[in-house]
């Protein structure tokens, strides 16, 4: 356990000392600021615009961070040869992976919290008060974080298997595919034949369904998210991360580090 913690802390430190991170967070805050301006252009929907644009910004920037840092988690250590001294220590390979994962998640959590604070401030500025329904915003941000966790796990998996560039492409591909899972399900039989429809159906359930984490609609209109859904969505993300990490552990343990 302490091994995982040590690796995680180090990963967090590495991310924090990377200036690119600050630029990204700054950019997100900028977008939220712009949302205030955009809200002024139309009538009566300033809050909706701020919330939806703000959440989109947090999600987008978070994704960038998750993918670009995530794909380097393992491959960078291998390319720079820093991994050799580390693995000579009494730390297991899977502990190393989990530590990397935890470190990046923690980094993302901190950054997402910062951006969310910015969003709340923007809302406060426009509305001058906070309402109970704003708690939904926290749920939305939490859901974004869950989504990022899966993306990190994906990035980590590819990081073990291939180069950074390919990993980025694969991650992007999976993200896009995972965002259209619902459509895959409504694709009807007459479009491509029953065999293809079955394949589609299987894919639609097995691919990570990123739409699960999208609650911008209800939240922007003040609809509360039921606790059961929060629990189930958390469970979904956790399960998926475990599956991905198991795959990463298998690949990494069989990897010849030379």
């Amino acid at each position: 356990m302490k091994n995982i913690g040590a690796v995680a802390l180090n990963t967090f430190r590495e991310a924090v000392r990377d200036r690119v991170l600050y630029n990204l967070v700054f950019f997100a805050l900028l977008m939220i600021g712009a949302a205030i301006l955009v809200g002024q252009i139309s009538i009566g929907i300033e809050e909706v615009v701020i919330v939806s644009l703000g959440l989109s910004a947090i999600s987008f920037i978070g994704l960038l961070m998750a993918v670009f840092i995530g794909v380097g988690l393992v491959s960078k250590e291998m390319d720079k040869r820093t991994i050799y001294a580390l693995l000579a220590k009494p730390v297991r390979r899977w502990e190393f992976l989990v530590g990397k994962f935890a470190g990046l998640i923690f980094t993302l959590a901190v950054n997402t919290a910062a951006m969310a604070a910015g969003l709340f401030l923007a809302l406060l500025y426009v509305r001058h008060t906070l309402q109970r329904s704003d708690a939904g915003l926290l749920v939305a941000v939490y859901f974004i974080l869950l989504k990022l966790a899966i993306v990190v796990a994906l990035a980590l998996l590819f990081s073990c298997a291939t180069t950074s560039l390919l990993s980025i492409l694969y991650c992007a591909g999976f993200y896009v595919a995972g965002s259209f899972v619902q459509q895959m399900r409504t694709l009807r039989n007459d479009m491509a034949g029953p065999a293809a429809a079955t394949v589609m159906r299987w894919l639609s359930y097995l691919l990570p369904n990123f739409e699960n984490f999208s609650v911008t609609g209800p939240v922007a209109h003040g609809v509360a998210i039921p606790g059961a859904l929060i629990l189930q969505t958390t469970l979904y993300a956790a399960l998926y991360c475990v599956v991905l990490m198991a795959a990463a552990a298998i690949i990494f343990s069989h990897k010849n580090l030379k």
């Binding site: 955009v38 252009i41 139309s42 929907i45 909706v48 615009v49 939806s52 390979r93 899977w94 459509q183 409504t186 009807r188 007459d190 359930y205 097995l206 369904n209 699960n212 609650v215 911008t216 609609g217 209800p218 922007a220 209109h221 609809v223 998210i225 039921p226 059961a228 859904l229 189930q232 969505t233 469970l235 979904y236 399960l239 998926y240 475990v242 599956v243 198991a246 795959a247 552990a249 298998i250 343990s253 069989h254």
Partner: protein, 296 residues
């Protein structure tokens, strides 16, 4: 890590995926309940979107149009009657790209058709087509669509005739447009006109949904025609034999009909309690007819 551990992990992964599958179904149920209130359409101001999307406006228009198609398809397969987001989505798509012809044509179709096949808003459909004509004055097919809507859904035959006439002025238009204008002006609604128009749609439309609708309409038209002719025969029978026939069989027996007629799906017609010819209760066409009649 030994191979055995790897194998165990793989097995655990398979279990995990199965659990994920089951979990997803539960999550879907919850989310469906959540989204009952509103179909997710946040930025509903088309002009705002157009400003924001800058040079990507046509691309965004394509995406919105795709959303319309998916939305319509999904609602259709779920037998959901509420198509509230249809007009806003179409509005946005055509504002973003005024030359997106399919959006106007299919969109007008989706809008004007009575539920459950469409939104039942022919007024919005007319608005959409007129906007299309304004942006694309040389595209004569819009007049055909306009005429179609006026003829079938609004039932304003004067305007329908006008639309066909207007469209026929375009040298590239189909020959029958002028004929159609004249016929409608003279007769208003007629079986031939209706059948012709629906057949044209059925043969030329690229949307499977619309073709299915057109086919249904054609079949019902045929059935209605058949019933009218049967009614004439019924009256003839009464004149000759003094009493109304109770069943089709009597008509054939008496020699007025050579054989029992069937509807386009193969079910024989019956004579109803009111003495008029009707669709067979077992025919699926009856369901369709009831639906169309409810919302007309």
């Amino acid at each position: 890590m030994k191979t055995r551990t790897s194998a165990l992990l793989l097995f655990a992964m398979a279990l995990g995926l199965a659990a994920i599958w089951r979990l997803q179904i539960r999550v879907d149920e919850q989310r469906a309940a959540l989204h009952q209130e509103r179909d997710d359409l946040l930025l509903s101001s088309p002009r705002l979107l157009k400003i924001m999307s800058m040079e990507y406006a046509p691309l965004l228009a394509d995406i919105y149009w795709t959303r319309v198609v998916q939305y319509y398809g999904q609602k259709h397969s779920e037998h959901d009657r509420r198509l509230d987001s249809l007009w806003p989505l179409l509005n946005i798509a055509t504002t973003l790209d005024p030359h997106l012809l399919p959006a106007y044509r299919f969109g007008a179709m989706f809008l004007s058709e009575a539920p459950p096949d469409g939104a039942g808003r022919p007024d919005l459909a007319v608005q959409l087509i007129e906007r299309g004509i304004a942006a694309n004055p040389d595209y004569w097919r819009f007049y055909e669509d306009l005429g179609f809507i006026y003829y079938f859904d609004v039932k304003d035959y004067a305007k329908a005739s006008q639309a066909f006439a207007e469209g026929s002025k375009n040298p590239n238009s189909a020959v029958w447009m002028k004929v159609m204008a004249a016929k409608i002006a003279a007769e208003g609604e007629s079986f031939q006109t209706s059948a012709f128009l629906w057949r044209d749609i059925y043969q030329n439309s690229k949307s499977a949904d619309i073709r299915a609708t057109a086919l249904a309409h054609l079949q019902l038209l045929t059935a209605r025609e058949d019933c009218q002719q049967l009614d004439a025969l019924v009256n003839e029978y009464q004149k000759r034999f003094g009493a109304r026939p109770a069943a089709i069989g009597q008509l054939t027996h008496s020699g007025l009909l050579s054989r029992a007629p069937v509807d386009p799906l193969g079910f024989s017609y019956i004579i109803g309690e009111d003495g008029k010819a009707q669709l067979n209760p077992r025919s699926p066409l009856l369901e369709k007819q009831k639906l169309f009649d409810t919302f007309k």
